[in-house]
């Protein structure tokens, strides 16, 4: 007994020893002790029956932090807001010592429930004043915001009413900036609605109606008095404005400040573009395709050093698997559609990182950058933590009670529990809340690696478990790196000292900006380091309820002198060359020059969109794959339209054939104008029930005109439906097509097909066909086959697969292919790609096709959509470009951590259950589906996993027994990026990932041609997929991709596509002469000239 104890003690000591050792690794930030700093602030909360999270929904939103030098001694002071306690002001005494002077300074506030804070010099006396938002008093009148005017002697006088800033709304925050450029600071007051969420009917759009009691407000500063100009300026202020963040900055680089408002709950966010005339245009839906749903805090800064502000918004998607499985639900498809149709835009449960495309559009790349999930998040701050010139990302998170814990929700909904909580119509809220689990969360920090890559910044030292809300950065010790202060709920606030300058040989340049006129701190000033294209905009109000050190601080990788450019709010410019770094530079607007910034010379466009295109429009049928195939995340029914080109009537002009969705006829577009002619009497129309998924013009019957093979695809039919019959139409030479009565591709296969290719593989002088099967309806994942169809010369086709290419049977879910002579033996080999497939090569040997076994590309398993060939390196052989799912996705796959699809009839009810799983670091496969979604498919799992807790650690092997797994079809994916396969001859290919920007969305169409006329072929790509479940989010970040060939297989992405910019879901790209025809799902054709 004693022995054991000793051993245990010893182990503990050993363990502890290890831990301390670990801690000694130098982290970027060092958490300072309150005893050292003197900052013992804690935002303590107590709830009771009358005031709690059920009565007041923002109960756990917490407080903010403001950093600024209130006594102009050069040291940044700190102000904390408290919800129930007193706000605190800590005077910086230097050397990280602070003194609480709140009471002496009369600045702790008299109103309950302070939220946001801004330090701003409102009266332009050179001293920072403090504006505090209050929003707690539920019934009473006691929630006016407070404005503490700095008396210049470390005391303050509350004068909100005098400035007309004593707003009575449930204010979250306020931002001060000069929107009308009249030289003084105006204010945007962010007010959260008081109305109960359950009381809203989504169909009723309240947005345009101004709320008398609250609502967001834009206040113009008119000679020191603030006047509400919201309506005139075009600012929404309704009862559905659940604003949690107001982020100001210039998003279109026109020198005028724009506004991003992040709204919680069902209301969408707002993006106000400054019209430069005192008004704003709200353009979010035009510019940003997808946003965070319950948006919380936000920040705006340049993450890729392209000189444009990007926007980051926090949400609540858990990053840890177990939490995801216990606290999260996602909206179902119908609810999502209802939201969209009711005017709330495309909102998703995840953080969003909106990359500024510099052309009035944004691409949401949070999933690509890996920053989409950081749990219940509040303050997000984009700043350079380690002075490497790249801005990193900090996210303060935590919710004091896990309000959405699914087991808790189920538990309290039980009769006996509810009865014990409710008596005489009175709810015992205290007890109701007491039983909610409370779990601290680690704050998140991400390091910016460049090229839009962010990784968990483990060495930042910021991942402390806490309930954190607002946060602010500032250089508290004036050493040239940014320190961080975090306001925590029911625990002491964090003061982190940044050790970068001490511990590394990094460099910095700090600026103190003296604004002219009444904007003394020069809010809105933009500073650029020309050498590195680093840029910062001086906007102290950021993140969540917080306000930053107003001195722009640049981290620099070298100590070389730099050139800087300062564009002041007035538009004046200060331009300095050979500025020594590692210093603090004081600049004044009054010294700046009145020079209009020269417009950067615009690069010449390669592409020009034609205004008048075709009169054709593709119409997608209303089919929701998820209503039938509940566990699938992506629709397979919206993969059209595809185009084929041929001169069908012999008039010398190319005509187009465009496939129709189910219920729409295929369409011929005739001649130069691509005019859609009537198909009413055509055989096409008679077969309009089929979904055309691919087509091919070829001379089937050797009569000199081009006949047409059309694949019938989609998933909207049941297995063996005649609508899956592929169609061969014979051309009478005048462009009239008559349906052949052959059963294609074979009488025995009536499944969805996706691709048809021709080649004379039996070398008898006519064109034979390859046809690929895409999917077996209701059996997603079941093996599909490719077919070789031999032509008898008259257009009669015979399935010879069994004899000549037996390995095509069951090869996979084929999406595309190519005939191409890979071994230069004079006959064409076959390459096919597909979903959950590698790039498969079938070697043609005298008309017999054998699957190449030692093909490394076969192991490159992807969700391939399309393949194209071109000699990209001008070495005489054809290289391949293959379009994949892309990297901007919740799905991540690699060799070590593949995605696996297990499909089987697990519950033996006659239906295949496709279970998608990912491999975790521990080597186990876990399902993507949440417990209730899995139960929705397989009812019996509800008994196996009676609650969420029991499910949260269950791997695939825990969910399904070995017996149930028997006979399962198992497929996997290990690469989701779109690639170039460089042909090195003799079946050898080098895999090269396409640039990051080409990975923003699934690629469905590829075209290669020398568009810029410089002698080498360039690439354009098209994609996007809107038919994705809300939990994975739609794929909409691509606007078409133009990749300029720079030689040596290097391709350059152009931000504005050199004119090739297309919205929508591109499904095909065809080049005719010098025109690019872009086919989009459920949309018109877009035509570009180059």
């Amino acid at each position: 007994m004693k022995y054991q104890k000793i051993i245990i003690t010893l182990t503990v000591i050993l363990l502890a020893g290890c831990q301390t050792e670990k801690k000694q690794i130098n982290t970027v930030f060092k958490l300072l002790d309150a005893t050292e700093t003197g900052i013992d602030f804690s935002n303590n909360l107590q709830f009771d029956n009358d005031f709690n999270v059920y009565k007041y929904r923002n109960f756990y939103n917490g407080g903010g932090v403001a950093i600024g030098d209130i006594n102009n001694d050069g040291l940044q002071d700190i102000y904390f807001t408290a919800n129930q306690g007193k706000n605190r002001l800590y005077l910086n005494l230097g050397d990280f010592k602070f003194e609480d002077i709140s009471e002496k300074a009369s600045v702790s506030g008299t109103k309950p429930w302070s939220t946001g804070v801004a330090m701003v010099d409102i009266n332009a006396d050179g001293y920072l004043d403090i504006y505090v938002c209050n929003s707690g008093d539920l019934k009473g009148e006691n929630k006016q915001n407070e404005l503490f005017i700095n008396n210049g002697n470390n005391t303050f006088s509350e004068m909100a009413a005098e400035y007309n800033l004593a707003d009575k709304g449930f204010s979250t925050h306020a931002s001060f900036f000069d929107y009308d450029k009249d030289g003084d600071l105006d204010a945007y007051i962010l007010n959260n609605s008081y109305q109960a969420i359950g009381s809203f009917n989504l169909k009723r759009n309240e947005r345009p109606k101004r709320d008398e009691l609250g609502g967001d407000k834009l206040m113009e500063n008119v000679d020191g008095k603030f006047v509400d100009v919201s309506e005139k300026a075009g600012i929404y202020g309704s009862v559905i404005g659940f604003g949690l963040g107001v982020t100001v900055g210039d998003v279109n680089n026109d020198g005028w400040e724009d506004i991003y408002v992040s709204n919680d709950f069902f209301e969408r966010d707002y993006l106000y573009i400054n019209n430069q005339d005192g008004t704003f245009s709200e353009e979010l839906e035009d510019q940003i395709p997808a946003i965070s749903a319950a948006s919380m805090g936000a920040d705006m800064a340049d993450i890729n050093n392209d000189g444009y502000n990007d926007i980051f918004v926090t949400e609540m998607l858990p990053s840890e698997y177990q939490r995801l499985k216990t606290v999260t639900t996602f909206e179902d498809w119908n609810k999502y559609q209802l939201n969209v149709n009711s005017g709330y835009h495309h909102q998703f449960t995840r953080n969003t990182l909106q990359l500024n495309n510099q052309n009035r559009s944004f691409s949401e790349i949070g999933r690509l950058s890996g920053v989409e999930a950081s749990d219940w998040s509040w303050g997000a701050l984009i700043f350079d933590m380690d002075n490497d010139g790249l801005k990193d990302l900090f996210i303060a998170n935590g919710i004091y009670r896990d309000l959405t814990n699914q087991d808790y929700l189920q538990y309290i909904s039980n009769e006996e529990v509810l009865k014990s909580l409710v008596s005489d119509q009175r709810v015992d809220y205290a007890r109701l809340i007491d039983i909610i689990p409370s779990n601290k969360l680690k704050n998140h920090a991400y390091k910016n690696l460049g090229d839009l890559d962010f990784i968990n910044y483990d060495e930042s030292g910021l991942q402390t478990e806490s309930f954190s809300n607002g946060a602010a950065y500032g250089d508290l010790d004036n050493d040239g790196d940014l320190d961080l202060v975090v306001n925590n709920l029911n625990m002491r606030s964090f003061v982190y000292q940044n050790t970068t300058v001490d511990n590394t040989d990094s460099n910095y340049l700090k600026l103190v900006l003296k604004g002219g006129n009444k904007n003394t701190f020069a809010i809105g000033t933009k500073v650029k380091i020309e050498n590195h294209q680093y840029s910062l905009e001086n906007q102290p109000v950021r993140g969540f309820q917080s306000s930053m050190d107003p001195r722009p601080n640049f981290g620099l990788p070298t100590s070389d002198p730099v050139s800087i450019e300062v564009i002041w709010p007035s538009g004046k410019l200060t331009s300095l060359e050979s500025v020594e770094v590692n210093q603090t530079l004081v600049l004044s607007e009054k010294d700046a020059e009145e020079i209009s910034v020269s417009e950067k010379e615009k690069e010449a466009d390669v592409f020009k969109k034609l205004d008048s295109g075709s009169n054709y429009k593709h119409t997608e049928n209303n089919f929701v794959d998820f209503h039938r195939d509940r566990l699938l995340d992506h629709m397979c029914s919206t993969e059209g339209p595809k185009i084929s080109m041929a001169d069908v009537n012999g008039d010398g002009e190319l005509d187009l054939f465009v496939g129709g969705a189910k219920g729409s006829s295929s369409q011929l577009l005739m001649g130069e104008n691509m005019e859609a002619v009537s198909m009413n009497d055509s055989d096409f129309n008679k077969n309009s029930n089929s979904e055309d998924s691919s087509s091919l013009f070829f001379d089937a019957d050797n009569d000199g005109d081009l006949d047409l093979y059309v694949c019938s695809g989609g998933v909207e039919f049941s297995k063996f439906s005649t609508s899956f019959k592929d169609r061969l139409y014979f051309n009478d030479g005048k462009g009239n097509f008559k349906l052949s009565n052959q059963n294609l591709p074979t009488p025995s296969s009536l499944n969805s097909t996706s691709t048809v290719l021709s080649s004379d593989f039996d070398k008898d002088g006519d064109l034979d066909l390859f046809v690929g099967e895409r999917i077996i309806p209701l059996q997603y994942g079941s093996p599909c086959s490719g077919f070789l169809l031999q032509n008898d010369g008259k257009g009669n086709f015979k399935d010879i697969t069994e004899a000549y290419a037996p390995k095509l049977k069951g090869i996979g879910m084929i999406t595309d292919g190519l005939f191409m002579d890979l071994d230069t033996d004079g006959d064409k080999d076959l390459i096919i790609v597909g979903e959950f497939m590698g790039v498969e090569i079938f070697v043609n040997d005298n008309g017999s096709f054998s699957r190449k076994s030692d093909n490394s590309l076969s192991d490159l398993k992807g969700w391939w959509n399309t393949i194209e060939s071109n000699d990209l390196d001008n070495d005489g052989d054809l290289d391949l470009v293959v379009g994949n799912h892309g990297l901007n996705s919740r799905f991540k796959a690699s060799q070590e951590n593949p995605i696996t699809l297990y499909s089987n009839d697990f519950d033996k009810n006659g239906f295949i259950d496709p279970i998608l799983a990912f491999r975790a670091k521990n080597g186990k496969d876990y399902p993507f589906a949440l417990r209730h979604n899995l139960i929705d498919q397989i009812k019996s799992l509800k008994k196996l996993f009676p609650d969420y807790e029991s499910f949260k650690d269950a791997g695939i092997k825990d969910i399904f027994s070995a017996e149930q797994m028997e006979g399962a079809n198992i497929l996997s994916v290990n690469n989701l990026s779109s690639v170039i396969l460089i042909n090195n001859g003799n079946f050898n290919f080098e895999v090269k990932q396409l640039p990051k920007e080409a990975q923003f969305a699934p690629v469905y169409a590829i075209a290669a041609k020398d568009f810029d006329n410089d002698g080498d072929p360039d690439i354009i790509l098209g994609g996007n997929l809107y038919g994705a479940k809300p939990e994975v989010g739609r794929y909409d970040a691509s606007y078409g991709v133009y990749l300029e060939n720079l030689g040596d297989m290097n391709f350059k992405f152009h931000n504005n596509g050199k004119g090739f910019v297309v919205k929508g879901q591109i499904r095909d790209l065809k080049i005719n002469d010098n025109k690019i025809i872009v086919a989009r799902n459920n949309d018109s054709l877009a035509i570009f000239k180059y």
């Binding site: 169909k203 929700l409 498919q937």
Partner: protein, 440 residues
């Protein structure tokens, strides 16, 4: 040898001479035993949240299991259900004289029920405490074992029968895809839940020939023009559907029977659970059976008969709901009359026509009337557990009529769905009464 024999005989005599504890027998004859088993099932149905049609299935199969065994105890009084219920074959004969058929009946009931619900432990707890209580009251081990074994056997028989009803298959049938035209049903506030059980008409009926045996007249033609019949009915819901007076509000709440009502407070949410419409009528059966001093077997008969009527009535009603796809009044009123309007009751997540409560209440009332007669007045205390006062009725039909009209007062149904629902329920009920003979 002899000595040992003597000792044995002595011991036996001693045992017999002790007072035999037969209290268990009384217990097994007490109809309250069955009532408690049914109550346990209702509680679990509420706990697990089953939609009204699915709940009716969870009541029916266990009841049929219980009845089938009970019938073996009283063959002179009751007919077998085999041959009367679609595809139901005769249950195995009890082949052990130790079997107590009442205990076997309880065990079959709870075992089938346990399979159909999710929270098995709650049923297991009931079984354990019930059996322990019987054992404490002298239930001999061999009787216990034989009865449990037989109960298991019959439960398996009934579950095998249930497997053929397409319930498992319909779980993965397509969800309903929303159609945009105004006249078609759309999900409703506050949760905009997907439509429940669009394929319930595929479920095998037990007495009805088919789901569409009694197709109601088509709904009034959709027309929002002032003065049209449809518009008038819509306006009636608008005017009455928030409860015009105390009485109508009480009626609406009393018959709400919504198994899942959600409450939102910001990010915080909780739901309240209640019995389903079918569950309410099961409650009425218990009241009627007690009021009539029904024996154990009579009690099972009443429950079973009613549960069968409810089961087929739900299938008939759901067949029409997902055929006519009529939009809920709340959707139209918000869209065309008053954005702010909300019905007194939360609109349940499935199409409007016909009213489920109207159909199933009437079918159940007709079934109960065939057992207990007209003018059976009773005090309905079913909802007291859920905080609603008791209401008194002069007959089952009276109660069913109030249940029907309550949907108008609750703002969730047009009058047509109520009137035609009652008609539909009457037909279903009559057909069952004519074709299902339990009592000889």
């Amino acid at each position: 040898m002899k000595r040992i024999g003597f000792v044995l005989i002595f011991a036996l005599i001693t045992l017999y001479s002790c007072e035999e504890n037969t209290a268990y027998k009384e217990q097994l004859n007490d109809p309250e035993l069955f009532h408690s088993a049914m109550k346990n099932l209702t509680d679990v149905i509420v706990y697990d949240i089953f939609s009204p049609p699915v709940a009716s299935r969870v009541y029916m199969y266990p009841s049929v299991a219980a009845y089938s065994i009970m019938q073996k105890a009283h063959p002179e009084k009751y007919n077998s259900l085999a041959g009367q219920l679609k595809e139901l074959k005769a249950i195995p004969e009890p082949d052990n004289e130790n079997i107590d058929l009442h205990l076997a009946s309880i065990h079959a009931f709870t075992t089938v029920g346990k399979q159909l619900i999710f929270s098995e432990q709650k049923v297991r707890d009931f079984q354990d405490s019930t059996y322990q209580n019987l054992k404490d009251k002298g239930l001999p081990k061999k009787v216990y074992q034989a009865s449990i074994d037989y109960g298991e056997q019959v439960a398996k028989h009934i579950l095998d029968w249930a497997k053929g009803d397409l319930y498992d298959q319909t779980r993965t049938y397509s969800k309903y895809t929303i159609r945009q035209e105004d006249k078609f049903w759309k999900p409703t506030p506050p949760d905009y839940m997907d439509g429940i059980e669009p394929h319930w008409n595929k479920i095998r009926t037990v007495v009805l020939d088919s789901a569409n045996q009694y197709v109601p007249v088509p709904p009034v033609e959709f027309n929002l023009t002032a003065g049209s019949e449809f518009q008038k009915q819509l306006m009636e819901v608008f005017e009455k559907g928030q409860g015009v007076d105390q009485e109508s509000r009480e009626i609406a709440s009393f018959w709400d029977c919504n198994p899942y009502v959600s409450h939102h407070r910001g990010h915080a949410m909780f739901a309240t659970k209640k019995i389903t419409p079918g569950g309410h009528w099961i409650g009425i059966v218990s009241i009627a059976a007690r009021e009539s001093n029904n024996t154990f077997d009579e009690t099972i008969n009443a429950y079973t008969y009613t549960s069968i009527a409810l089961f087929d009535a739900f299938i008939s009603c759901w067949d029409e709901k997902w055929r006519s796809l009529v939009v809920r009044p709340e959707t139209l009123i918000n869209q065309h009359i008053d954005e702010q309007w909300a019905p007194l009751l939360q609109t349940p997540p499935f199409p409007e026509y016909t009213s489920g409560h109207s159909v199933i209440s009437r079918a159940a009332a007709v079934a109960l009337t065939s057992i207990y007669g007209d003018n059976f007045s009773f005090l309905d205390t079913t909802e007291m557990e859920y905080g609603l006062p008791a209401r008194s009725f002069t007959s089952f039909i009276h109660a069913s009529e109030e249940a029907a009209i309550s949907r108008l007062y609750g703002g969730i149904h047009y009058r047509m769905a109520i009137d035609e629902g009652v008609t539909q329920g009457q037909k279903v009920g009559e057909f069952i009464v004519q074709n299902l003979r339990t009592i000889k």
